[in-house]
């Protein structure tokens, strides 16, 4: 009882603003209120430690800034708030610290969302907390909270929309969706009432504003651990964990950019292994985020424990459950496991354990979808999710029953034995492999896609399997050595021994390692690393999608794969998904298309008038996204046919804003018709230029090859522009998958033969078809180029290939593919206009259609139009357009020919 009284006093101490240490004594043995700043600093952490901590924090935040860590989440916007907040908070008298923390959280909300949205978010949050404390029966309060939650859910589902709902509901959801459950559970049994500031601080946690994916912080734990240790140790732990989070996130980027293969790249055991293991390693993103979040909270005295603990070294299913997202496990145990087990134990402990664990995993599955609903607006309940959680639950149940059956055996003295070390290492490696397999399954889009990807391992020979076994054995051996080192007292930890954390060791480590990373981020240092090293370091300083997610993004727009895609492990994907409006649909999902014949899975409906990606979208009588043209070429007109895909079609921009329309207007203004003031023309052979836009979103070389015969020739063009880009292969694989699965007739024998060689059938999964066709992609592209060029030349039409760079090529990615496409085009007989450099001097964000859509926006089209115009003039491709005498001003001399 005395202890309880002491604990109560401890809480009251916190309420009164006098943080006490864990043993009930005032922190650092100082009982009296501070007398001025010097007294405060001397009493709390001391000036020296304050300066060391501030220096570490400044360095770590600089690393975050230099490496653009969580840039898309808004973290960079609040680094100043975090640093300034820490400095002021540390100097404040303890009784002002909680109110200051709440104020700081609200400032951060305002900084990220603006004043009006912040008012809505804070107002709604206060309302929800207020409902929990209405002077009515507990059940009535819960009912009210659920009713208000249902109303907000209706808004989140898009049933009714306000100016603020789409912006703040994900964060409001993140703050309240789980914490409100815990809060209601705990306040029902609350012995020592919390202060208003404690309650507000629990919900308005500073980092939450830029981290929607947030650990489920327990209310009791949150209160219990507030300044329950030496203040400098808590702050030091905070800085260290923020930095650890940064290292996890940088490792994640390395793996995400350089290791994760695209499904079509997986062709054997080695790639399967990389695919499986990298899927699990990508979880570093979540553990990195959670370390940063808890680290930030530690800076303000919340001495919360780890959310993850060496999870790649788990030795069993229960062990994984205890190391991976520990807060989630505790939440499940508290809200579901104990209540179910205590009720069910009258049937016997074994059935009770099975039932309680099964309920936990069922709840985990459903609550993940519930979480996704609040963060993204969709409630995905997929077979993959169900199977994953079901399987993991079954394994944990089996493991729990086994562990429970061993409980009554007397514990043996733990002693080092080589045998024990081998067994433990074997368990750890085995568990890592099993978890990687399960994780890769969970991360896949469908059971079939995963199965067909993994099945490619069967194509590898015995040698590959022998190598795999040898590699795993090596890993086990390494594990044994690590255990031996630990047994001999060697430790790599920077935090000091448990119970006696060191200050100097983690401080020196953080200062040193953060300085090193900061130096690496500087161009001067990178120059010393060689081209490849510098390239790698520079690449992890930017946030971009890896090849797999670029594929998914491209495929997603045309195959409707974006909805319900619950990837927690892609920084940008997460941001992209969160912002994408619900009516932002791929072309084929809209009413602008109808089913086509032959290789045309779909085609644009003639004379369509509607909205696409929030922009007006009209087609002419021939089904072109263009103005009206007669089929017969008017006298005096120079006619160009443009083949291409969504960029050429102008996805997301208005008809007059496409680079095709802009170029046409400029050609007519400067090279045809009446003389222009800017560039007087000198020849009047052509009165008018017409560019007919035959491009359709997602069309590949197959559709564009067929388009020549079936549509273009009848319009009698003088020139064909065939626009291609770096997504050529992705579109090709996607279109072939559709053609094969729909068993559409392909009336080109050469193309039929290439596809037949791949051995694909209509019954195969999409991923399997893509994988089989991928090795033949270059052959098919060459076929398509040959088809367009040969058809053009046969009819006296000049074929010109336009290479329109993708926005992801800004900054200089691998140009191998670009060079290959150009080589294919030249082989086919095209004149090539490479528009590389069109975006020079512009950042991607200003050119891209939207953060969640990689197509060109209005400015991007203008840049391409300008670059194309210059290239046409420079290469003397158009009639009357002469190469300029002044390259810096290509139109200054006018056009003569």
């Amino acid at each position: 009882m005395l202890n309880r009284i002491k604990k109560g006093a401890e809480r009251l101490g916190v309420l009164d603003g006098v943080p006490l240490s864990g043993n009930g004594e005032p922190a650092n043995g100082q009982a009296e209120a501070p007398q001025g700043l010097r007294a405060l600093l001397a009493r709390d952490i001391g000036l020296f430690r304050f300066l060391v901590l501030s220096a570490q924090l400044a360095l770590v935040l600089a690393v975050i800034y230099q490496f653009r860590i969580e840039e898309t989440s808004g973290l960079l916007q609040i680094t100043g708030v975090i640093f300034g907040g820490f400095v002021v908070h540390t100097w404040l008298a303890p009784r002002f610290r909680l109110p200051f923390f709440v104020l700081l959280s609200m400032i951060a909300i305002e900084a990220v969302f603006g004043a009006m949205n912040a008012l809505w978010l804070i107002g709604l949050g206060l309302g929800l907390i207020g409902l929990c404390h209405l002077p009515i029966a507990f059940r009535a309060r819960v009912t009210l909270v659920v009713a208000v939650g249902a109303g907000l859910a209706a808004m989140q589902a898009g049933w009714f929309v306000t100016s603020w709902s789409g912006i703040i509901l994900p964060i409001l959801g993140s703050m309240f969706m789980f914490r409100l459950i815990i809060y209601l559970y705990d306040i029902r049994h609350e012995k020592t009432p919390a202060s208003l500031w404690e309650r507000l601080a629990y919900f308005f946690l500073l980092p939450n504003v830029c981290f929607p994916l947030f650990p489920v912080v327990d209310y009791q734990l949150f209160r219990r651990t507030y300044y329950n240790d030496d203040a400098s140790a808590i702050y030091q732990k905070g800085v260290l964990w923020i930095f650890r989070g940064v290292t996890h996130l940088l490792l994640y980027r390395l793996i995400y950019y350089y290791v994760v293969p695209t499904p079509s790249e997986v062709q054997g055991l080695g790639e399967v292994l990389v695919y499986i293991v990298s899927s699990y390693l990508l979880y570093l993103r979540v553990s990195g985020l959670f370390h940063m979040i808890i680290g930030i909270l530690c800076l303000f005295g919340f001495n919360l424990p780890e959310t993850h603990h060496l999870y790649f070294f788990a030795s069993g299913f229960n062990d994984v459950w205890r190391r991976l997202n520990i807060y989630w496990k505790d939440f499940m145990v508290k809200i579901f496991y104990y209540p179910v087990l205590m009720r069910a134990r009258r049937w016997g402990m074994t059935p009770a354990r099975v039932l309680a664990t099964a309920v936990v995993f069922l709840a985990t599955w459903l609550l993940h979808s519930y979480q996704w609903f609040w963060l993204q607006g969709a409630f995905p309940l997929t077979a993959v999710d169900g199977l994953y959680w079901g399987l993991l639950g079954a394994l944990v149940i089996a493991n729990t029953l086994y562990v429970a059956s061993q409980l009554k055996k007397p514990a043996e003295e733990p002693a080092w034995t080589w045998r024990g070390a081998w067994i433990h290492a074997l368990k750890v490696v085995g568990m890592f492999v099993v978890m990687s397999v399960l994780w890769s399954f969970w991360s896949s889009h469908s059971i079939g896609e995963w199965a067909s990807t993994v099945a490619t391992a069967s194509s590898s020979g015995v040698g590959a399997y022998a190598l795999l076994i040898a590699g795993l054995t090596l890993l086990v051996g390494l594990g044994v050595l690590i255990q031996y080192a630990a047994h001999r007292g060697w430790s790599l930890t920077v935090e000091g021994e448990p119970g006696s954390p060191s200050f100097a060791r983690p401080a020196l480590y953080t200062l040193g390692a953060a300085s090193l990373l900061l130096a690496l981020s500087m161009p001067q240092t990178q120059e010393q690393l060689g081209a490849r090293g510098a390239g790698i370091v520079a690449s992890i300083q930017e946030v971009r999608l890896n090849q797999r997610d670029q594929d998914r993004m491209t495929r997603g727009y045309y195959e409707g794969l974006l909805d319900g895609d619950n990837s927690y492990t892609s920084e940008l994907w997460w941001a992209v998904q969160a912002q994408r409006p619900r009516d932002w649909k791929p072309l084929y999902e809209t009413d602008a298309v109808r089913s086509g014949d032959g290789v045309f899975d779909y085609e644009l409906i003639p004379s369509y008038d509607g909205i696409q990606k929030q922009a007006p979208f009209r087609t002419n009588a021939w089904g072109m996204r263009d103005q009206a043209y007669d089929r017969e070429k008017p006298p005096g007109a120079f006619r160009i046919a443009l083949l291409g895909a969504s960029i050429e079609m102008g996805a997301g921009v208005e008809g007059h804003e496409t680079y095709e329309a802009l170029l046409e207007a400029r050609l007519n203004e400067e090279l045809a018709g009446a003389p222009s003031v800017q560039a007087p023309r000198t020849d009047t052979s052509y009165q008018r230029y017409e560019i007919l836009n035959f491009a359709v979103g997602a069309y590949s070389v197959i559709q564009n090859g067929a388009m020549m015969d079936e549509k273009v020739l009848s319009f009698d063009p003088d020139l064909v522009f065939y626009a291609v880009g770096s997504t050529e292969t992705q579109r090709l694989l996607m279109q072939i998958t559709n053609l094969v699965r729909q068993e559409r007739p392909i009336r080109y024998p050469a193309l039929q033969a290439i596809i037949a060689q791949s051995g694909v059938t209509a019954e195969m999964e999409s991923a399997e078809i893509r994988r089989r066709v991928a090795p033949y992609a270059e052959d098919i592209i060459q076929w398509g180029f040959n088809k367009v060029a040969a058809t053009s030349l046969q009819h006296g039409i000049d074929p010109v290939l336009l290479y329109v760079p993708n926005l992801d090529e800004i900054g200089g990615l691998d140009r191998t593919w670009e060079a290959k496409l150009i080589q294919f085009a030249e082989t086919a007989g095209f004149t090539v206009l490479n528009l590389e450099g069109a975006y020079d001097g512009h950042d991607k964000a200003s050119i891209q259609l939207a953060p969640w859509d990689w197509h060109l926006g209005v400015q991007g089209h203008q840049l391409v139009a300008d670059r194309l115009y210059e290239a046409l003039r420079a290469q003397d491709i158009l009639p009357h357009a002469q190469a300029p005498s002044d390259p810096s001003n290509p139109v200054s001399t006018g056009a003569t020919r």
């Binding site: 009882m1 009791q220 219990r224 205890r322 409980l407 514990a411």
Partner: protein, 94 residues
Amino acid sequence: MTMKSTSTAQAEAIKETVRDFLTEFITPKEVQGLSDTAPLITGGVLDSITLVELVAALEDRYGVTIHSHEMSVEYFDSLNDIAAMVQSKMDNPS
């Protein structure tokens, strides 16, 4: 014997029960080293499986009822916490 000494003896008996219980899960040496304030849950000695077993043992031994919301660090993180909680229930059966 005074009320205070009875209470202290009872508390010691409860701690001894818990120590006996723990010998089944951790080594006798570790049990001997456990102070009355040593962290059991936050220190990793008790987990969700062993805590349930301990609750069952305490209920059987002292005839008290422990609720699921009480299976937390607040009541089970040290021998002192456990003794205080069980004693409180014995003193105020409800």
